[in-house]
């Protein structure tokens, strides 16, 4: 709130602000209902115009004002002092896409662990369930799947499992959004941070003067803009080292992801991403799923620094163990 004036004036402004989508601008000698861009600072609407003399007019309008407020209980809340929807919160998807973004039946896990690490079945998040691979790329995807748990020597030095998740690599975008871990959106008025628990990955969404990164990266370079109530994030400058899931779906460094975050209700964001990679796919394709707000009492963002968990897998072959 940027209201100035007496405390009565500020109170009134606070009231106008809370009403949200509709706002009543009360002026010295007239009153009129005006469409109000939600979240617009009251200072624009002219707190200056309201004084104690007009309290009668204000009181008369109160019941009228409450009607739109009640009828819009589903109204998207606004980031205080801005015109944008408030996307803040700890969010998580409830899909089985991290195992396989396409529809799949349940699969056994490593037999020594019984049912513990078996894979749940899922209906997938890919629109039409088809990933339009070029023929060579489809063959590589199948090879990735076959070798996903196998430690392969890629450069004469390293002997590593192929799935980058197993190595605790930053998971890439959009995969980080459907891993079975929460992530937090911290929405500033100039930039937005998305912090992921998995591998402590973070993204800064640049909104004003985004510039360009000097190098490709795991999570990509994120540039955001608002399309009505939707946050649209254009993500570029990826490297080719992340996968979409544990099933070996992959991309190249030509990956381009356009994400759309749209508030559906107070506790649900609809998430959609268009995926384009002319080196790997024959056409752009889409994924979509809801993100749910974590409402558990006392829930908070926690660390999942998995580097130590991955070290035996990554460095075991060049480590000396007691009794080895």
């Amino acid at each position: 709130m940027k209201c100035s004036g007496s405390s009565d004036q500020v109170l009134l402004c606070a009231f106008l602000h809370r009403v949200g989508g509709q706002c009543f601008v009360i002026q010295a000698r007239q009153h009129e209902r005006t469409d109000f861009t939600p979240g617009m600072a009251c200072s624009i609407l002219g707190c200056r115009l309201v004084s104690m003399k007009n309290w009668l007019a204000v009181a008369a309008l109160l019941p009228l004002a409450l009607i739109p407020a009640l009828s819009q209980s589903n109204q998207t809340s606004r980031l205080k002092g801005t015109a944008h929807p408030n996307l803040n919160g700890l969010w998580q998807s409830l899909t089985e896409a991290n195992w396989d973004i396409q529809a799949h039946a349940a699969q056994p896990g490593p037999p020594q662990f019984g049912a513990l690490f078996a894979e749940p079945a899922g209906t997938g998040i890919v629109e039409g369930n088809e990933i339009p691979y070029q023929p060579w790329a489809l063959a590589k995807k199948k090879d990735n799947y076959e070798k996903r748990f196998v430690r392969v020597n890629t450069d004469g030095v390293r002997l590593e499992p192929l799935d980058p998740e197993a190595k605790c690599y930053m998971p890439g975008t959009p995969r980080a959004n459907y891993m079975p871990f929460p992530f937090q959106i911290i929405q500033g008025d100039k930039k937005i941070i998305i912090a992921y628990e998995f591998a402590s990955a973070s993204r800064v969404i640049q909104i004003e003067k985004p510039g360009l990164p000097p190098e490709d990266s795991y999570m990509g370079w994120s540039v955001g803009r608002w399309d009505g109530d939707t946050l649209v994030v254009d993500v570029t400058h990826f490297n080719d080292k992340t996968w979409f899931d544990r099933a070996g779906n992959f991309h190249s460094d030509a990956l381009h992801v356009v994400e759309r975050y749209t508030p559906e209700s107070a506790n649900v964001l609809n998430y959609e991403a268009t995926i384009e990679d002319p080196k790997v796919f024959t056409r752009p394709w889409k994924i979509s799923f809801p993100l749910y707000r974590r409402l558990d009492k006392s829930v908070q963002f926690l660390e999942f620094k998995c580097v130590p968990f991955s070290e035996e897998l990554v460095y075991g072959h060049i480590s000396k163990r007691t009794g080895k």
């Binding site: 402590s200 990164p213 795991y218 460095y315």
Partner: protein, 325 residues
């Protein structure tokens, strides 16, 4: 007498100037404070910041009780830290390999004009250890090896930074490069993204209690609140896998961020750990505006650690082969 009158007039002039200026200065500061405010009315610390400086944490003995460098000393130190990184040792020597990073790679910043970052105790030094702290450090010293001497049986024998787990325990003091932080605020939260290792400290401002004491994290558990224009953050729940200057996991950390200019934040931390130090101590470090942060992938393709471990195994094989001869 004439001189006295002159002196008096000067004093009076100075005093009237001070009286005239004080409200103006106060007004300007108030206007700035207003400017450094988020749309929802919190003090605004948002932006990209760097805490790089060559000013050391502790005051070197040569400065005695002196808090500030002379202008000459400062200029000399800045000149030296700018060019010293480009001086090369004799090619092929271990010093040459160890010092392979030249000025292009370093981002150490310059001196801030003081002789130490520590402002309390006034001697600019970490306070003496308690008897318990002394005993613990002596025990650790018996276990610790000379840095670089090995053996390197596995990743656990290598420091946390080389393993890419954390750059350092909190609180963060400046280091050789990538001293960058991004602050983003929203109502009820402050987020601080640390370039190394790309983790975000998410600090709730709603006064909720700390995590259960059994939940320990590399970067602890932070809670914040505003005191005037200062963000005050208290952090507990540290892990015993990382330590700040030899403290225990029960170290209590209080950090303060205050915007003092468009391009600068005054950052201070106070640490307290009766199991380690005889008294709390405080350091002040400027956070200066810097460019945007880029992804610091470290664990991904960590050839340094591969090289250390693979090299140690190769040496063992060589030694075995030599014995067999």
């Amino acid at each position: 007498m004439r001189n006295r009158i002159l002196a008096m007039s000067i004093l009076l002039l100075a005093a009237s100037a001070a009286v005239a200026q004080t409200p103006a200065v106060a007004k300007a500061t108030a206007a700035k404070t207003k400017q450094w405010q988020t749309p929802w009315g919190d003090p605004d610390l948002q932006g990209s910041w760097s805490n790089a400086t060559t000013t050391p944490l502790q005051r070197p003995a040569k400065f005695g009780g002196r808090e500030f460098l002379t202008e000459q000393e400062r200029a000399a130190q800045d000149k030296d830290s700018t060019i010293a990184t480009d001086k090369r040792a004799a090619p092929g020597t271990p010093e040459d390999v160890n010092g392979a990073y030249n000025g292009f790679w370093w981002d150490r910043g310059l001196s801030d004009g003081r002789t130490s970052l520590i402002v309390d105790p006034p001697d600019g030094r970490i306070p003496p250890l308690t008897p318990e702290g002394k005993k613990r450090q002596a025990d650790q010293a018996r276990v610790n090896r000379t840095p670089g001497a090995g053996p390197y049986n596995g990743p656990e024998d290598v420091e946390l930074y080389t393993r890419c787990i954390v750059r350092a325990a909190l609180p963060r003091v400046p280091t050789g490069y990538d001293n960058n932080y991004e602050i983003v605020q929203t109502p009820g939260y402050v987020a601080i993204l640390q370039e190394q290792m790309h983790e975000t400290r998410i600090i709730p401002l709603d006064g909720r209690p700390h995590l259960d004491a059994g939940v320990r994290q590399w970067l602890g558990d932070s809670r914040g609140h505003w005191e005037g224009n200062t963000l005050v953050v208290e952090t507990t729940n540290f892990s015993d896998q990382a330590t700040f200057e030899g403290a225990t996991k029960n170290m209590h950390l209080v950090e303060r961020w205050t915007r003092v200019a468009d391009n600068r934040i005054d950052y201070r931390f106070t640490v307290e750990d009766p199991a380690t130090w005889t008294r709390p101590w405080t350091a002040a470090i400027a956070w200066n505006q810097s460019g945007p942060l880029y992804e610091y992938a470290c664990h991904e393709d960590n050839y340094g650690l591969y090289g250390i471990l693979a090299g140690a195994r190769a040496e063992e094989q060589q030694a075995t082969a030599n014995r067999a001869k």
